[in-house]
Symmetry: C2
Subunit: 500 residues, 2 copies
């Protein structure tokens, strides 16, 4: 009898249902809630988070985990127990005082940052940020100590939260390859694009018509409106549970591409969650894998499907119908417009080619910071040097468009940034395999058929949840571990050779 394992399943199901509540309360907060709900909602979410933490770290859970390890379990149950143990360790290894202190320091720093960023006030920010760094270093060291040798450095222990299975060393190797190739590639692409004509999108585009178009796009990409909604929020995001996915995009009336790219992106995230294994519902093993996988799914939908010439050709016909003003632009002209490469200050506005350099810069700084090889006051100089050398951009004195632009560090979310670019590498590698197995992919895209992509992802990624370690899953799906060469080749093909 696997009595203790079953007690764990019951407890994790309870945690799952608390998370369900927090998921939809969070969605409501971002999409529906009137301003007066801020304080009561914050109180409710804080209490539910405490309750969830208590239920996960209660002493009975530790005992059940110990005893379940000696029970006779199937291979699936063993993998399930492994994931339960990881969730428990992550939550149990920090003293309550540190969690509390970091939450307070993070909230204070983030809150002040919203104004300090506008004021370009680095020194003001630094005053709060030093405490966030100090507490994050403590956190990282404690997490490393609790990892049982799994984490080589303190920074590895923070990566473990978002990129679990991809070590600092492995990520560093991938990024070194990109650093060696991308800066020169960017220059060649800019040179190449100078020789072609690129339209400027101008005009006023009816938002309700854009909404119709975005709904159609989501549906074309396989989003099922019986099991989800598409709404509007300040920042696009995706959340929900299997059976009820909520995605959000945002609209501008002076252009239409941003909303479409966001809808494609969030449809990728939602599709992954929808495809997770039903038999492990409510258990950690049934959850989505690390953020490097999650982001690979969204980027695959956004960059590999939506931005492909073939799909864009199909979609442009629909756009010409729903937004008649766009009929003056051919699908080829729009594609060129969507794929302009231009180094800039801001990560979230960066194109597919320069984006990794923004991430690598942040990765190099935050890993040094957490591993005590750099101090918070050294960030602006490091930022300027790297921006200059990676992208030829001068950010001296411009903190607000430089090292103060992102929210991630303000509350101590170190270790997240690499997932954007490892996700990009994974997405290209997955799509490379899909193309090899479907030589007629362009014909299918040109007809609006992307179901074969979903089928492949369902089989090789979605249905596995957290059953495998991440690089084992990638190896099983593509024949090798995450390899940056696929991404570099994709960049050359799309941006120098203007293939797909």
């Amino acid at each position: 009898m696997s009595q203790n394992y079953h007690k764990l399943c019951q407890r994790f199901n309870r945690l799952f249902q608390l998370s369900h509540a927090m998921t939809f309360l969070g969605w409501d907060q971002a999409v529906m809630m009137p301003a007066g709900g801020n304080q009561p909602r914050a109180n409710a979410l804080a209490e539910l988070a405490s309750l969830r933490h208590e239920l996960l770290t209660a002493s009975d859970v530790g005992e059940w985990l110990d005893q379940a390890a000696r029970e006779s379990l199937s291979a699936n149950e063993q993998a399930s127990l492994r994931e339960m143990h990881r969730r428990w360790r992550r939550s149990s290894c920090l003293p309550a005082e540190l969690i509390h202190a970091k939450t307070l320091a993070g909230a204070k720093c983030e809150h002040a940052w919203r104004q300090q960023r506008l004021d370009n006030d680095w020194n003001g920010f630094l005053g709060n940020f030093r405490e966030v760094v100090k507490l994050s270093r403590e956190e990282a060291q404690l997490r490393q100590a609790a990892s049982g040798g799994e984490c080589d450095t303190p920074y590895d222990a923070l990566l473990d939260l978002y990129c679990r299975g991809d070590s600092n060393q492995f990520i560093g190797q991938c990024f070194d390859r990109l650093k060696a190739e991308l800066p020169a590639l960017v220059q060649r692409i800019i040179e190449h694009q100078r020789s072609r004509e690129t339209i400027q999108i101008t005009g006023t585009f009816d938002v309700s018509q854009q909404q119709v178009l975005n709904n159609k796009l989501a549906a074309m990409l396989g989003f099922d409106f019986n099991t989800g909604r598409l709404d509007v929020s300040t920042h696009p995001f995706s959340t929900g549970v299997r059976g009820d996915q909520r995605i959000c995009t945002r609209y501008r009336d002076d252009e239409f591409a941003q909303s479409l790219l966001a809808t494609a992106h969030e449809t990728g995230h939602a599709s992954y969650e929808s495809g997770l294994p039903e038999q492990w519902n409510g258990l950690p093993i049934g959850e989505s894998h690390n953020m490097c996988i999650h982001e690979s799914q969204s980027l695959l939908f956004e960059k590999q499907i939506f931005l492909s010439k073939a799909f864009n050709q199909h979609f442009t016909a629909l756009m010409h119908e729903k937004l008649p003003q766009t009929q003056i632009w051919s699908s080829e002209a729009l594609w060129r417009c969507y794929t302009v490469v231009e180094p800039g200050y801001i990560r979230v506005e960066a194109d597919e080619v320069t984006y990794p350099m923004h991430v690598i810069l942040r990765y190099e700084i935050e890993s040094a910071l957490i591993n005590c090889e750099m101090e918070a006051e050294d960030i602006p100089d490091a930022w300027n040097d790297k921006m200059q050398s990676y992208l030829g951009v001068d950010t001296r004195g411009n903190y607000k468009d430089g090292c103060m632009q992102d929210i991630h560090w303000t509350d101590g979310s170190f270790g997240y940034f690499p997932s954007y670019t490892i996700g990009a590498l994974n997405s290209v590698q997955f799509f490379h395999t899909i193309k090899q197995q479907n030589p007629d992919w362009q014909d299918r895209f040109a007809r609006g058929d992307i179901q074969f992509v979903r089928d492949w992802l369902q089989q090789h990624i979605w249905q596995h949840g957290c059953f495998m370690e991440v690089q084992d899953m990638i190896q099983a799906a593509t024949g090798q571990k995450t390899n940056p060469e696929f991404f570099l080749q994709h960049i050359r093909n799309r941006y120098l050779n203007e293939q797909y």
Copy 2:
């Protein structure tokens, strides 16, 4: 030190935040959720309900309650402790097996009823319903036994859940007065209304314009869109927390009165919740009082404000602007149309005058049923006799528009019906006092000013939460306990004399 009392406050705050989650998950389910969310949402709500029940009935709570009773507490804290004790007793006095059995039997009966009602299948319904009655009787007897002499009959113990403080005997006395007067009054009113001309509302009324009009109405009645939303649902309802009230109405395109009446009604419910005492936030004493008070607030907004001639005159001007087709009808013509009295089969479609007879009939049947003075199979005959004698309506053989029309009994929610009519009596009694204190009320209503009504309710009802026993609060506010004479006089004034 009131250490145990403070532990109770912490626990009840945790319960309050779990209820916050269930409140907004419930709103989302009714208003936003796609069909695919049904199963995961039902699972989440069931688990949160179990968790809440466990946290409320845990043995530590019983000990804290015992020990807090010996602590030195302020008058407020003593009242607060009294309400905590009631919540705890209500949840602790039933064995888990009975709760579980009743939940299952109720869900089964309600589910089957949805089809059986359409099929007019009384015998099919009776098969499931007998079990619901049996378990509800057990529940009532156990609750009565646990009441420490507070409840005279088993039915009193179910009334305690919805009408706490208003006993079976007290309600029976009120209803006897109504029974003695209303049937003859109804006949006189019908006679009177036969002599006047009444318009028929016909046409097609743009729903988006109706939405604008309903938003305006809610705002005129004091609904604050910074602390709430007005949406659409299958059945109008109101929910939320202070700072974030969610009300819903529903629209038809062949008439406009239904949506407006529902919006006024739900604004009353929401206003009450918004006005609850902030200093007792999260504690039982800070919650709304029984359903006889809650319904009195909604009915006051719907029947006393919105349906008054003076307010209707003001509002019709706005309606003429937003729905230009309605300009052919004067406010007087519309008022007559809104106040037509006509006995019918269906409670939820009944007018203000005949509605109490629908409730009294149900009260007489359900109290006899729970007190074992009647059996389930006797219901149709009792129903027919009473409908014939109270309203002159023949329901023989017509179960679907007779005893099978309501959802309440299907899952064993006995004891709820009286609150509709006691609420109506209270609303008229409150408004009578408001009118006495504001002789210029009609002039104010005619200008759209209803703030003085809100101020009175805030002072005499809303701010008190559950601090006082219900009839003490009514006595303090109006000089006497719930008294049906105010309602009867209101009916004569409005429907025979066509005053206000």
